[in-house]
Subunit: 311 residues, 2 copies
DNA sequence: TATTCCTTGACAATACTTAGACAGCGGTTT
DNA sequence: AAACCGCTGTCTAAGTATTGTCAAGGAATA
């Protein structure tokens, strides 16, 4: 015959083990707050029931999370269970937990790059993208990591090798993201590239991925593309907008001519977005009618729907 | 029955945690503006009510967005809620566009399933996972879609073929997620399975993926697993916890025996979580010392870190 | 006999309290 | 501009409350 849950049968030692408390705490709680009142053996030793165990277990959980034992002491078992459940939902809103915060991913990525561990870097980036979602990943991990790497590189903490390895892996991951969003015929078309003499393509890839995640159909053409090629391609795919990334600070006469040529070669309704470090730095020179300079990925994202409507 | 929302019961540090403020700020706000007037314990310590928490939470959100606390201090709860709503509408610019909201993905998924288009279903699910991030995907797309599919199936709108196709694709996508999070040696281990005579494994897979995204190293064993197998495996991989999914409403004597056997076969420190429709429905029968019933994925997620700490 | 458990009283570590001070920020006035 | 000012978050110091931990001496248990 199975015993009733109120049958006293567990000695202190076992009770402590099962509830995660110590015998000392059990006695202190009983002495001070009459949290439970265990039965006694013939010789006066405590014997706890299943119900006591349950109660004590819940109390431990709640006190660990910040409730005060003094206040919880007189609460009924049913109420304790209710509170625990409420706490669970309430705290679900609260924290994203260490290990899956954007910063954690960034630093893990930079460490991997520093160790020249391409496989680990890729794994970290993929995990970040899948955990945070592409928009969050691009804004808070990819952007931040690239910035940090560039910074460390210019400070001499990272070598060219590190930078190349990181570039290769980022290209792979961003390419993967682009592929996931490849889709037939939906969404407006965006052409992404880097103008002549601009070899850094990561910014462009970042923008391409961001646009893809926003539902655009992105044609990514890579770095250092002659203006006529851009024009032809834009016409061919029926682009609703063209986005260029400019990183090198040499915003030279050639570049300005290129931009003018590009703008006048594109149809009226086709938007032209220029982003990247150099674009922000020389915003006044680059800005022109029909040319929008974007300072950040977030800015880029908000500029996109506008272009779509203009068609 | 002490459950009026105005019952004071939360000490300062809990209140700080729940509202995202710090104890310092709580006291400063009270001292300067009488934002709230918490009750006091016998010894003079603050005790906040649920209503206080609600109010403080709203105040934090609004001050973060630039409102001044001095101005908001005397505003009623109802007015605060109204202001927050208005703000939300105003900032709707930042709202995800149509096409990348959870509902859009769910309905696209169900349409694909209805058309028996496995490739499209898989593409939609992958895009959803990558756009929303795995936690969001599991909570708002996978969970919802499966529920809808099950519902349509029981209504006769979807055939067994549809249901099997969907199961196959979901299994593939969830498996992909599990693989992305595969990682060597980090994190506590979780064993996920379905007990004997429980054939529906999608719930278990969902849980497995959620745990993986939280940093657990998950060993997924699939459906209909004999208890001794579970025990051996748990010991072999050194599991910190075991999670089971129970869907069929037949919580029969066999199942109860199985659970008892499982619980007593597991070491003390190893947590045991039971989830799924049947578990929630028969929560009282299933609950036992050392066995925790979880009602939802969100609940499951919050239960996990606890198990980790208990080790 | 060796170990575990009992009670009581004390102590130490946290956590919380108040009152006050200070620094950064945005806006205003000189 | 420069100086000023109110608002707000943060910190300190000194005292109180709460709670975990321990010790001593005796009793029960195996």
């Amino acid at each position: 015959m199975p015993h009733a849950p109120s049958t006293p049968r567990h000695p202190v030692r076992l009770t402590a083990l099962r509830t995660g408390l110590t015998p000392h705490i059990l006695r202190a709680w009983e002495r001070r707050y009459q949290v439970v009142t265990p039965a006694r053996s013939g010789g006066g030793q405590r014997l706890y029931s299943d119900l006591d165990l349950e109660r004590l277990h819940l109390l431990r959980r709640l006190t660990e999370r910040g409730h005060s034992i003094g206040r919880l002491a007189k609460t009924s078992l049913a109420d304790l269970e209710r509170i625990v459940r409420e706490e669970d939902v309430a705290s679900a809103i609260a924290e994203p937990a260490v290990g899956s915060r954007p910063e954690d991913f960034s630093s893990a990525a930079i460490n991997a790059a520093r160790r020249l561990d391409a496989a680990e870097l890729q794994a970290v980036l993929e995990r970040a993208a899948v955990t945070l979602g592409v928009p969050g990943f691009l804004d808070e991990v990819a952007g931040a990591s690239l910035k940090k790497i560039g910074q460390d590189w210019s400070e001499g903490t990272l070598s060219v090798a590190h930078e190349h390895l990181a570039t290769a892996v980022f290209r792979r991951v961003l390419g993967w993201i682009l592929r996931v969003y490849e889709v037939n015929g939906a969404g407006p078309r965006l052409l992404v590239a880097t103008p002549p003499r601009q070899a850094h393509e990561l910014g462009a890839l970042l923008a391409a991925a961001a646009a893809a995640a926003e539902g655009w159909e992105v044609t990514y053409l890579g770095a250092d593309l002659p203006i006529p090629e851009i024009l032809t391609s834009a016409r061919q795919v029926g682009a609703a907008a063209v986005a260029l990334s400019i990183v090198y600070p040499s915003v030279d006469a050639g570049l300005m001519t290129d931009l003018q040529q590009l703008r006048s070669g594109l149809e009226r309704g086709v938007g032209l977005l220029i982003g990247g470090a150099a674009a922000s730095a020389e915003r006044e020179r680059v800005t022109a009618p029909g040319v929008e300079v974007v300072d950040s990925l977030a800015h880029f994202r908000t500029a996109l729907p506008r272009l779509q409507e203009q068609r």
